[in-house]
Symmetry: C2
């Protein structure tokens, strides 16, 4: 049986999704809990291997088991066993061929920024504190140049053979004296969302003009783009699938 | 010079506002930081001595100093020195007779509840996880009986000579699959807000009827009211003063 989990987590205390001997990871903790309940080893696959410190509200994970599960009970057991910063929001049986990454049609990420001299304590673990003010309109203008299909070499810290990706939409809105940047795309390069955010903040505070982003894309030169925005402002909101899944 | 601070904090890692030798408190940490910058001992007074685990977005604190402060610089130094879960939002010079408790005309508290089987990890430190569903309409009906001037003996864990207090308004709204309860009152007895919330949850899940609250008030019997809602769902939103302050 192919089981799909929708998982939410606060990434603060983890070294990201993927298992490493260096310390606790979401994959490690979740795999151990599932295996403990099912009394057999499982291998998890996730739609996104989120970086250390990144959060998720709708990570999609699957695993296989021969056990006939009572889903409601299994979810309750799993949530009781897991630490409070990881929650299973939903469990569903999928067709055997379902794979969370291969079946995915895209992902939605949200980045939170707190602007101004003081950050509210409640936001410190989930938003980037940018001390200066940002011009929202210029950032929105800049974002328009990044929407669509482009070679995003200038926005990744680890180039691949093919760096062409598509950003479907990017919305930037002003929320409680800060900003929310919501990016929907088909697939993202390593650290691409955080590099896009860092570059848009450069545009917002006047270090780059919105039009510079055109040159930047064309240059394929990472050193000309903005900083990598810190991990703790980023949240994987949800993964997009065909209505079938 | 009488200096007023507006302070926000996440109470999770503190034993409340008031200093105790048992462990870290907001008062202790803040007093130490202010004294360190001013190079003389200060004595803080706060509008509300919040309990262990309770948060604040607008705690009002004052202290006296003879030093002529550059407020902007002092705020920056203080925020740099303080741990990230305590922030100074504002600093202002007040008339010498201003006292944060004595001058206060009331306080606004907000209580957050997460309803249903699963709590999002981001909410775990700032909202009470109530596993069952609650009838919002009944809770709103019950709340109406508590608004106004009453003897709140049934809602305090520590009776005083005079237990008559006034709740100005109480609003309960449904937010993201949970509830927000906002209480504005002239003054509150020890644990009164949390006892009111716990009792309203009893009403919401049918353990008490809204009309039982009338009897409960009249009985002055704490054992007949609901549980004390946990501290971590409670936030001091702001303290009310005459427009003068």
């Amino acid at each position: 049986m192919n089981i799909k989990l929708i998982v939410a987590y606060q990434g603060t205390h983890y070294l990201g999704w993927q298992k490493t001997p260096m310390g606790p990871t979401i994959e490690g903790v979740l795999e151990k809990a599932v295996s403990q309940i099912l009394q057999h080893t499982v291998k998890l696959q996730a739609a996104s291997r989120t970086d250390a410190g990144v959060h998720a509200e709708g990570q999609v994970v699957n695993f296989f088991t021969e056990i006939n599960l009572d889903f409601k009970r299994f979810q309750k057991s799993l949530n009781s066993l897991l630490p409070k910063d990881i929650s299973i929001l939903d469990i569903k049986k999928m067709p055997d061929h379902f794979h969370p990454t291969l079946a995915s049609q895209g992902k939605v990420y949200e980045y939170s920024i707190c602007l101004g001299p003081v950050q509210l304590p409640f936001q410190r673990l989930v938003s980037w504190h940018v001390f200066y003010s940002c011009d929202l309109h210029k950032m929105q203008q800049g974002a328009l140049f990044l929407v669509g299909q482009h070679d995003f070499s200038a926005f990744t810290n680890q180039k691949q053979a093919n760096n062409i990706r598509e950003i479907y939409t990017m919305e930037i809105e002003s929320v409680n004296g800060g900003l929310k940047i919501r990016v929907k795309g088909n697939n993202f390069l390593y650290k691409m969302v955080r590099n896009v955010v860092g570059t848009l903040v450069y545009v917002g505070c006047g270090k780059l003009s919105p039009f510079d982003l055109l040159d930047l894309l064309a240059s394929k030169d990472r050193t000309r783009a903005g900083v990598t925005a810190p991990a703790h402002g980023l949240t994987l909101k949800n993964v997009l699938y065909e209505p079938l899944y």
